[in-house]
């Protein structure tokens, strides 16, 4: 790439040709404010918050989309620029429901930050407000258009990352608003519940449907035994809500906080992940042996499942019948563990903490009630757990590191790496290799399936049998893989699909990072790194080594894919409409 010389506020910088003023300014140590811009996803130059002066240009230019060229002189902080940005944001605020004090995004809102950074007078313009509706039709998401700034970051990620594209701007002018086709409630569309729109939203217009109060009520009810368990990636996200660097592993403090919140048992969904490997690995081997439908595709990600049901209803046979780790965990609590405790599963409340909003949908699906009651009662996001901790006055960073309870808090490194794209596949391979070949794999690090690329593929030799695997994350990538499967062209035996780009570490329930952070850091890679580091340091790194899982089979389930295991740990899928 050719380099060009430009000056930002008289500071000379060399930048690759074709880069934008925004990127050049960053190199010169200048942060130009933005609102609608999300790198690689939403580059529409619409909001005009990022305007700058370019010497020789007749009007102000949008830095986020304006490419630099040789000799360009840019000024990012002139009176003219400041006045323009300030007026733009003040106009946005004039049509905004400024209820910051009770807003879900208070203290983590890009509009708030802009207003304060630019020195705006939030009440300067008072005028008619556009009619703003609220969509609360789904069990996982709330859209409050009174907080929407029409940046379109949500619809861009829904389309570009997920190829779902069920939300967008309807109407025109002052009546423009974000909604679904034919103004349908979100629950009546092919929305998959991934929550990627929520984490892309700069304001409080999009948020998860909270279940915090339900959980507090359960904890306060002396007749209930309340169990909590967190998914693998929660421990590498939660710390960010308390100001820690991206990807900080706070497992021990998380456990301590959960105990102080008053949960009766502090377990780990990683246990459910290890169990998933036993069931899914066995299912795969059986399919290979008995000529079952291949490629087999993982079923851990509920947004992926819903996507498949809406868009590939004719391909559901490819999905593993295994419940997700969350649901397996809940099912084991309410059957095996309830039996062990000698209690009625109706008196048990199982709370999962998830990096995911689709889990709130999944728990209410049919066929997820092994004990005749829902396997999971409440599914909180990582963000909701942080709120619970704050509400309880727990000083998070001063907590000691504590250990999970036994037996369902025991896990291996294989269960842990479920949090990153490729993790389920790697965990499965560690176990499959050993079952098929009869000895441990030469290396437990299956590096070919690691990393944040959207589609990865590899081939492994298991005692002369070649197994071709593929790992995809982001549903736009999943769609490509599925088109081949549908056309009968797929060369793979086993496919892992996660809805969110990079896997659960980057889920729609994880801490929300501003566009500035998203544009300049690979958040998913940093969180994943932390998970792999913990795995590498663990003594037990293969799911079948998990003593609690072994005991569960011995005492209760018999063997993987047994009749009982099928009843408790497997599920069914339903074809759904596209529109």
């Amino acid at each position: 790439m050719a380099l060009v010389n430009v000056k930002i506020n008289n500071i000379p910088v060399q930048v690759e040709e074709g880069k934008t003023i925004l990127e050049a300014a960053k190199l010169a140590g200048i942060k130009i404010p933005t609102l609608c811009y999300l790198k690689g996803v939403n580059e529409i130059g619409a909001c005009r918050v990022c305007v700058c002066e370019v010497k020789g240009a007749r009007s102000l230019v949008a830095a986020c989309v304006y490419p630099v060229n040789e000799g360009m002189e840019v000024f990012t902080n002139t009176p003219n620029v400041r006045a323009s940005r300030k007026a733009t944001v003040e106009l946005l605020l004039s049509n905004h429901n400024k209820a910051c004090l009770s807003c879900v995004r208070n203290n983590n809102c890009e509009l708030q930050t802009l207003s304060s950074d630019l020195g705006c007078d939030a009440t300067k313009y008072e005028g008619v407000k556009s009619d703003a509706s609220k969509d609360e039709s789904t069990p996982y998401l709330i859209r409050d258009n009174s907080k929407c700034v029409l940046c379109r970051r949500c619809s861009a990620v829904c389309k570009e990352y997920q190829s779902v594209a069920v939300i967008g701007a309807n109407g025109r002018g002052f009546d423009t608003h974000i909604a679904c086709a034919f103004e349908k409630p979100l629950a009546e569309t092919a929305c998959v519940g991934c929550g990627q729109c929520i984490v892309a939203c700069p304001t409080g217009a999009l948020s998860e449907m909270e279940e915090i109060d339900d959980v507090l009520n359960a904890i306060n009810d002396p007749s209930k035994r309340v169990i909590v368990a967190a998914a693998p990636s929660v421990r590498v996200g939660l710390g960010e809500e308390f100001g820690m660097p991206i990807g900080t592993n706070v497992e021990g403090k998380m456990v301590a906080a959960m105990r102080r919140l008053g949960f009766d048992d502090v377990f780990d969904v990683n246990f459910g992940a290890d169990l998933t490997i036993m069931e899914e690995g066995t299912e795969f081997l059986n399919r290979v042996k008995n000529g079952g439908t291949l490629p087999m595709i993982t079923s851990c990600s509920p947004a992926w499942i819903k996507f498949c049901e809406h868009n590939f209803p004719d391909q559901l046979d490819h999905l593993s019948s295994c419940k997700s780790p969350q649901q397996m965990f809940g099912a084991v609590c309410k059957t095996y563990y309830a039996e062990k405790l000698g209690m009625d599963p109706k008196d048990m409340v199982v709370v999962s903490i998830m990096p995911c909003t689709a889990k709130k949908f999944e728990k209410g699906r049919g066929n997820q009630n092994a004990a005749g009651v829902p396997d999971i009662d409440f599914a909180l996001t990582t963000r909701e757990l942080a709120k619970l901790i704050k509400r309880a006055g727990i000083i998070f960073d001063e907590l000691p590191d504590e250990q999970f309870d036994n037996p369902l808090g025991i896990f291996t490194g294989a269960g842990l790496i479920f949090g990153a794209t490729g993790g389920v596949m790697e965990a499965a391979l560690r176990t499959l290799y050993e079952i098929v070949v009869g000895k441990e794999a030469p290396s437990l690090d299956f590096n070919e399936v690691r990393g944040t690329e959207g589609i990865k593929e590899a081939e492994y030799d298991l005692a002369g049998k070649k197994v071709r695997v593929c790992v995809a994350s982001g549903l736009a990538n999943a769609r490509k893989i599925m088109e081949d499967v549908r056309a009968g062209k797929s060369q793979y035996d086993f496919i892992e699909i996660m809805s969110c780009p990079g896997g659960c570490v980057n889920g729609g329930g994880q801490p929300i990072k501003s566009a500035f952070v998203r544009n300049n850091k690979d958040i998913k890679a940093e969180r994943a790194k932390s998970i792999y580091a913990q795995d590498a340091a663990m003594k037990m790194r293969k799911s079948h080594e998990n003593p609690a899982v072994q005991q569960l089979y011995k005492e209760f389930l018999g063997e993987p894919n047994s009749h009982k295991a099928h009843e408790i740990l497997h599920t069914k899928y339903v074809p759904r409409q596209k529109y």
Binding site: S133, K159, G168, G171, F182
Partner: protein, 168 residues
Amino acid sequence: MSKIKLTTVAFKGTAEQETQLRQVLDEIKSSAHPSVMTALQRAQAIYGYLPIEVQSIIADEMGVSLEEVFGVATFYSQFTLNPQGSYAFGVCLGTACYVKGSGDVVAKLEECLGLKDGETSSDGKYSIASTRCVGCCGLAPVMTVNNEVYGKLTVKDIPDIVAKYKAM
């Protein structure tokens, strides 16, 4: 709530119309600049309006989402989501008519038909649409029902006119 008016009239598209639409879409797809905008224009020419049944065919054929199609359909005022009623009431809101009280005429009409401006009754019989100047300002305020023209209207005339069409 959004100002977008959705139809409650059942879709009555015919097989011929669908064949025609698919032909048109094939044509557009093989053109140099296939656009959803053109597809919507041609579809509206076939059906008279753009219901979900038509927009989902456009979405599938043009390889875009239904929401993207709907976004375009609600952005441009040339597109309508509502079929005209068998009796299409049009009230002129041009300057001359407006000054002479056509705004009140619309309000009365809305009351008598139980519909809002821009809507069609769910049985498909009646619709109200305010229009621009129809060019007979001497008769202001003017209302049309299909090809029938009613001039020099007052609010009092409306119930009788409505009753006449209800009896048909």
